[in-house]
Amino acid sequence: MARNTNKKRNTVRNASTRPTGFYYALGAIALLGASLLAYSLMRKPAEGVATEAVAPTGPVGPAEGYLIGKADAPVKIVEFADFECPGCGNFANVTEPDVRKRLIDTGLANLTYYDFPLPQHKNSQAASNAAACANDQGKFWEMHDAIFAAQDQWNTEATDNPKPFFQKYAERLGLNTSVWETCYDSRKHQGRIMANAAEGERRKVNSTPTFIIGDKMYSQGMTYDAMKAIVDSATKK
């Protein structure tokens, strides 16, 4: 058997170092792989348009989100998010810094964050609770950023007890930790969190993150460029 295979190797080597068929095979794989990647990359913005739906308008019920930016900004971005959702984390960590700097700080838009804790994320409500308690001391957004930045340390897969992580962030942010802890343990903002989630359900939010900009709903994360384009078109209206 060894002799046969040796013979085969030699035949291949003597005829040509690499047969043309080999290059065809590599070419086919490269073409297939590149087309699939290109398709996946291009599908996203197209889907963003396709999943648009008219969002129920009107005041945001008894829910109370967390505002960043000028209250009278011409375009209002509403975000329904789950602290444990990776898509939301991705938006918060990758896209949102740009959105804040270029759209919110410049007064073009403001953003209101609503909790939408999903049932499969067991630590998400605790994270909303931690952020709501930071809000009592005027540091919702700082806590929001800290929670999202370290999402994989305190999420359901990582721990059953996320409180020590949030406590650490509270300390780092310079909050009065005993006040924060009393608030956290009493879960006094649970009503607000539930109201925010109920508001999402009323608006037919079924995945996170979901953005409502103007009268359109976008049920997925988006890049800065996509959000900028939507804000620009909403400004023109």
Binding site: A2, T5, N6, K8, R9, V12, R13, T17, R18, P19, G21, F22, A25, L26, I29, A30, L32, G33, A34, L36, L37, S40, L41, R43, K44, E47, D82, E84, C85, P86, G87, C88, G89, N90, F91, V94, L118, Q120, H121, D152, Q153, N155, E157, A158, N206, S207, T208, P209, S219, Q220, G221
Partner: protein, 144 residues
């Protein structure tokens, strides 16, 4: 096609799978909306990073290096090189062990299976078997 060419072709396929998963990890592809998905669970768990770098990034580097190595090994100069065969077996073996560890995590720790990770595990296993066959062939060859 020789065994090494099979390794090269499969490694190239692996490059694309790892690239896809990496782009997904970086949020540039597909829905990261949290309506439950096993690939999402796996690729966003804390085990999706190894030494601070996304596992998909390691995969991409691994497959790319293996592809280059396999391409070089198909050249006339290294056709009978036993060292090259050993290198391929060693690299593919490392890949198989790493994949086995990841599959163990998926099954018993994360409790979710990501189909692309499974496809990658199968590819790396076939690569390993092919490089093992190549090693046996080259070591049995009188030229070596």
């Amino acid at each position: 096609m020789t065994k090494r060419m099979i390794v090269a072709a499969l490694a190239l396929a692996g490059v694309f799978i790892a690239l896809y998963l990496l782009l997904y990890k970086l949020g540039m592809i597909g829905h990261l909306s949290c309506s439950v998905g096993s690939c999402e669970t796996v690729n966003t768990s804390k085990w999706a990073r190894f030494m601070g770098i996304p596992v998909a990034g390691w995969g991409l580097a691994f497959y790319a290096a293996l592809f280059v190595l396999a391409m070089v090994s198909t050249g006339e100069r290294y056709a009978d090189s036993l060292g090259m065969s050993k290198l391929l077996v060693g690299a593919a073996g490392t890949g198989v062990l790493f994949s086995a560890w990841l599959t163990y995590l998926e099954l018993f720790v994360i409790h979710a299976i990501c189909e692309w990770c499974v496809i990658s595990a199968i590819i790396v296993t076939v690569i390993f078997l092919a490089s093992l066959a190549d090693f046996r062939e080259v070591s049995a060859s009188p030229a070596s």
